[in-house]
């Protein structure tokens, strides 16, 4: 069971969290013309990298904040965690 550092609560066991997928996906802006392909990429296509991956976790049984976790998908090593409003380009 992973041990995840929530920037709001501290280190907590994985069973307090829900996984939320790739944190680098950006939702297209509202009211923007967008091609089928682009929309398809946003809704369905996800990379599944081996190694470092920035992903979303929801501290569902804690502070209920969505956080970003930089994790190695093969070793489970967690390098750093961020608040939802951090790391936005």
């Amino acid at each position: 069971m992973l041990y995840i550092f929530c920037p709001h609560c501290g280190s907590r066991s994985q069973n307090e969290f829900a996984y939320g997928g790739d944190a680098t996906v950006k939702r297209p802006d509202l009211n923007n013309e967008i091609s089928d392909q682009e929309w398809n990429n946003f809704v369905y296509l996800r990379k599944s990298p081996r190694g470092k991956h920035l992903e979303l976790w929801h501290h569902i049984s804690g502070c209920r904040q969505w956080i970003k976790v930089e994790r190695d998908t093969s070793t489970h090593e967690i390098f750093k965690t961020y608040k939802a409003d951090e790391l936005i380009e």
């Binding site: 069971m1 992973l2 041990y3 066991s13 829900a18 939320g20 939702r27 297209p28 509202l30 009211n31 967008i34 089928d36 929309w39 946003f42 809704v43 369905y44 979303l56 929801h58 569902i60 209920r64 904040q65 969505w66 070793t75 489970h76 967690i78 939802a84 409003d85």
Partner: protein, 998 residues
């Protein structure tokens, strides 16, 4: 009582407490502190089971977790526990155990015929035999394999015992209380670290209990007792015996199984049988010790052949002799300790040492005691079927290939020592890649992967001095990283006699003309010839050899067999062991009961049960409950001998005719607050929200980004910046997460907060033509007329001085209201509604009637919004705004979602107006069409329409809009029914919606 093999003056069992138990129906006695194994050996019993494949007689091989033979089945308080190791299970008054894998009895076992057919059971026998023809599998092969497979029988009854889970955090977890565990725990505890010390046996001390050593001018036992006593008195230390740390998982989480009551006749009050500990440790010291390695020779599985360290422990810990004519067969000094212990207890052993000219203090001591030693000698084969009676021994040449001077020697046990194998399982599970150490012919941990260090003999340190020094240092070092107390304790001096040199010899060659079975894996009957065959057949990877031969795959996970197996493969392949590599170690290290893994999460405890504040009232009024998500909801209220069908019909009819009340507390409720709340709802829902006035509710549909309907419900504008959202019972948690996702990550600029208020409000839906009349009596001071409180209106009111909220919304299609009060007033509200409603013929109704009412109105619910439907499919396209963007909108223009013959919801009525259509039925054009019959869609929900008194169903079918009026068929292959039906509008009752607006 006579115990022929019990010694008087030695051992740690409590001689003042006799305990009786039965083994295979026969009564035996032992003492408190005995295991089944020690007590049976004291009684001269050595035959306890049969081997897995050949059903060869099985005795005792070890004295702890490594035991491959003595697997028994235990009965305790009418409960059955298979896969018990006799070497671990302590006896208690009334214990009943029996042998497994034998029939009709352990003494006379029919399956032993396999032993004589063993030429037909080579490696891979099952893979080769049970292949063809496929039709044989079900009726012939599978029953045969099932009959032959497995040790013991699991109980089919519900386990009444209680098992617990515990979460614990510590600075340092130490696994094993031998010399290295004790020393490191002491050093770390004295340096202020929070320590957990786990010991799998009942007694602390590990090898110190049985070795003749001196630490700080005390015997090993005295020293370990002193250290344990002091550790137990320290508030920063948890010391646990009968506790096996069996798994090392990610981020330094280890799991430990504590056997709290297994050694007692009955689980004590307020205590569980077993407790599973999830331990998150900052640092881990693995001090799990090592397991003696067998030597391989002919018939080396005969009862009476056992590890020399086991024989010593039976003497020193239990005061039990494993034999009176012992033969010690060793390639290192460990065998001498056992021999000396025999001698001290008046028994004359014979030592066969494979080495030519070894010397050490302990060998000198053995010589001085007059123990007979034959150097360069080996056991060729054990003789005797159910117990060793003699042994063929021989001189072995210096190159270890030739045998000479074969003679037969009488003996009743053969104690073997082929040196020691470090228990590296936990380190390996942590991710530590082990390395082969040539000096000890075994793998030891390499570089730490997580925060783990391995110490003592688990790390290949086989002298006590090295072990103690390393353990004190490590205990200080890892604790100081955490506490920075710099408090170092002094290391005691150590005296030990044996050396740690061993002979690299491990397998006795076969004498000419003999074909003795030489076993490697004692539980799965894997012999040298099986490995040889597997390699001849082309298996090379050690993982494949393992699976093909089943070497190391038994319940003991090859604790005594793995290394000898690797030695053999590397010998045949002319490789060195590190090239062969070892198989992967996976948790659990020892078997863990399913009960411990499950813990308290059994039956109704597997998830929380949520009850509404009105639950007790429902119970008192004969409600029959149904699980709705985690909630318990009344399904119907039984009157007399009513069936579910009759009751739900009565309740639904009463809503249509008079008035009914339904507990809707379970609906998800979310408060949405903030200046941007309207804008947020406008993006979340498919319909428009910017112009909803205060005091008005609106029905809304929300989608996922892929266009599929996620949930629906009404949301009410309570005040300027405050909305009250309702969700379905099932989706409440998902919807909240969904909203939080968009607010926190996608649109953080919106100033909105959401919070669940499901638990804060109790809800009652009052529905039916009399509902307004009832409301007028409940709220005499509030104008609830059609003008005062129109359809989709909202009002705050007081219910007999309790603040209440009235929403004029309807799920039944009737004139209806939903009244909410704070949860604590829920029961008061309910009782008032029932009391005041009497004159209007009010009746409570459950979820079954609720479904009937919504189905015949054509209201969609979970069975239609099943994760596959878009708004159009559920006839919700009228709620999809063309003007604004919202979550999932872009997906709706995908070609698959805009096809003209897209599925749509319809109503289905059987032509005979009597046959109910099973939910899940297919709608087809031609019931006799060739299979697979193309389906148009499926029936999502069925009810008995109380309005028309005939069956009615909802279905989602292709091109549904144009199918209305068609005569089709509903087919349920499951119930073998084909029902001619007519497709009608899904709005079966009051299609214009006049009643809700009345």
């Amino acid at each position: 009582m006579s115990q022929d093999f019990r010694l008087d003056k030695i051992g740690m069992v409590n001689r003042n407490k006799k305990i009786s138990f039965t083994f295979n129906g026969k009564k035996y006695f032992g003492y408190e502190g005995d295991t089944i194994a020690s007590a049976l050996i004291a009684n001269g019993v050595h035959l306890v089971g049969r081997s897995f494949k050949y059903h060869r007689p099985r005795g005792f091989f070890g004295v702890g977790v490594d035991e491959p033979y003595a697997i028994l089945q235990l009965e305790r308080n009418n409960e059955r526990d298979p896969n018990i190791r006799a070497t671990e299970q302590e006896i208690f008054e009334g214990l009943e155990v029996k042998s497994v894998n034998c029939w009709p009895s352990v003494n006379f076992d029919i399956g032993a015929i396999n032993n004589f057919l063993k030429m037909f059971f080579p490696a891979g026998f099952y893979y080769k035999t049970f292949m063809w023809p496929p039709s044989f599998w079900y009726k012939i092969y599978e029953p045969f394999i099932r009959m032959a497979a497995g040790f013991g029988e699991a109980s089919t009854k519900h386990d009444k015992e209680r098992y617990e889970h515990k979460y614990e955090y510590c600075d340092l977890l130490i696994t094993g209380s031998g010399p290295s565990g004790l020393a490191s725990a002491y050093a770390a505890a004295k340096n202020g670290a929070r320590v957990i010390l786990a010991e799998d046996k009942p007694r602390y001390g590990g090898s110190l209990l049985t070795s003749d050593v001196n630490i700080g001018n005390q015997t090993g036992t005295e020293w370990s007792e002193k250290i344990i006593t002091e550790l137990k008195s320290m508030s920063n230390v948890i010391v646990k015996n009968r506790s096996q740390v069996f798994g090392y998982y990610d981020h330094n989480m280890l799991v430990m199984s504590e056997r709290i009551s297994d050694h007692l006749p009955k689980t004590q009050k307020y205590l569980p049988k077993q407790r599973l500990w999830y331990i998150r440790a900052k640092e881990v010291l693995i001090s799990s010790g090592s397991i003696e390695r067998p030597l391989v020779f002919g018939n080396n599985d005969t009862p009476g052949v056992m590890l020399s360290s086991a024989a010593k422990e039976y003497m020193k810990v239990y005061g039990v002799l494993v034999g009176k004519k012992p033969l010690i067969f060793t390639n290192n000094d460990s065998g001498y300790e056992t021999a000396i212990e025999f001698k001290k207890n008046g028994v004359n052993p014979l030592i066969l040492d494979t080495r030519k000219e070894p010397s050490s203090d302990i060998i000198s001591e053995a010589k001085n005691l007059g123990i007979e030693i034959k150097f360069s000698h080996v056991v060729v084969a054990a003789k005797g079927y159910k117990k060793v009676k003699s042994a063929d021994i021989a001189k072995i040449s210096d190159n270890k290939k030739e045998l000479s001077n074969i003679e037969n020697i009488e003996c009743d046990c053969i104690c073997v020592s082929g040196f020691w194998t470090p228990s590296i399982h936990l380190a390996s599970q942590s991710g530590n890649k082990s390395e082969f150490n040539e000096k000890i012919d075994a793998f030891i941990p390499k570089k730490s992967k997580q925060n783990e260090n391995t110490i003592g003999s688990a790390n290949g340190k086989f002298t006590l001095e090295e072990t103690i020094n390393e353990a004190f240092d490590k205990g200080y070092e890892v604790s100081n990283k955490i506490t920075e107390n710099n408090n170092k304790v002094s290391i005691p001096t150590v005296v030990e006699k044996k050396s740690s040199e061993h002979d690299k010899f491990w397998c006795v060659p076969l004498p000419k003309g003999k074909s003795y079975k030489r076993f490697l894996d004692f539980q799965n009957d894997v012999a040298v010839t099986d490995i040889e065959l597997a390699l001849r057949e082309g298996f090379r990877s050690i993982e494949h050899v393992k699976r093909y031969t089943t070497l190391g795959m038994a319940t003991d996970q090859g604790k005594t067999s793995n290394l000898n197996g690797l030695q053999l493969v590397s010998d045949i392949e002319n490789k060195v062991v590190p090239q062969v590599g070892h198989t992967t170690f996976r948790p659990p290290y020892t078997p863990v009961t399913i009960g411990a893994i499950v813990g308290r999460e059994v039956g109704k405890h597997s998830k929380p049960t949520r009850k509404s504040p009105m639950h007790e009232w429902h119970k008192k009024n004969n409600a029959v409950f149904v699980d709705a998500g985690v909630w318990l909801r009344p399904r119907y209220y039984k009157q007399g001998n009513e069936t579910l069908f009759e009751a739900s019909k009565r309740e639904a009819k009463n809503v249509r005719k008079n008035v009914g009340v339904c507990d809707v507390t379970t609906l998800g409720k979310i408060d949405v607050k903030g200046p941007d709340a309207a804008e947020f709802l406008n993006r979340v829902y498919t319909n428009a929200w910017l112009k909803l006035p205060v005091g008005k509710a609106r029905y809304g549909v929300m989608l996922r980004e892929d266009g599929i309907v996620m949930d629906d419900g009404t949301t009410t504008r309570i005040s300027e910046n405050h909305y009250h959202m309702t969700t379905t019972t099932a989706q409440a948690a998902n919807v909240l997460s969904h909203l939080e996702y968009y607010l926190q990550l996608v649109w953080p600029e919106l100033n909105v907060n959401v919070v669940s208020t499901t638990e804060q409000w109790a809800g009652a839906a009052i529905a039916g033509p009399n509902s307004r009349a009832l409301l007028m009596k409940l709220f005499p001071n509030t104008d609830v007329s059609n003008e005062g409180l129109p359809f989709m209106g909202y009002k705050e009111a007081d219910l007999f001085s309790i603040p209440a909220k009235i929403y004029r919304i309807s799920f039944s299609g009737e004139l209806a209201y939903e009244v909410n009060v704070e949860s604590d007033y829920g029961n008061f509200m309910w009782e008032k509604i029932i009391e005041v409603g009497k004159e209007f013929q009010i009746q409570p109704y459950g979820t079954e009637a609720l479904s009937t009412l919504r189905i015949e109105m054509g209201h969609v619910a979970g069975s239609e919004l099943d994760g596959r439907t878009i708004p159009h499919d559920a006839s919700l396209e009228g709620l999809v705004s063309k003007k604004k963007d919202f979550i999932g909108k872009r997906s709706l223009s995908r070609s698959a979602f805009t096809k003209p013959d897209r599925e749509k919801i319809v109503g289905v009525v059987p032509l005979d107006k009597t046959t109910s259509i099973p939910e899940g039925s297919y709608i087809v054009k031609d019931p006799k069409a060739k299979l697979p019959n193309p389906k148009l869609g499926h029936v999502s929900a069925s009810c008995w329409s109380v309005e028309y008194d005939n069956p009615f169903s909802l279905a989602i079918i292709k091109d549904g809009k144009n199918m209305i009026g068609q005569k089709l068929f509903a087919m349920s292959p499951l119930q073998n029914k084909t029902i001619p039906v007519e497709i009608v509008s899904s709005h079966y009752v009051d299609p214009e919606g006049k009643r809700v607006r009345a």
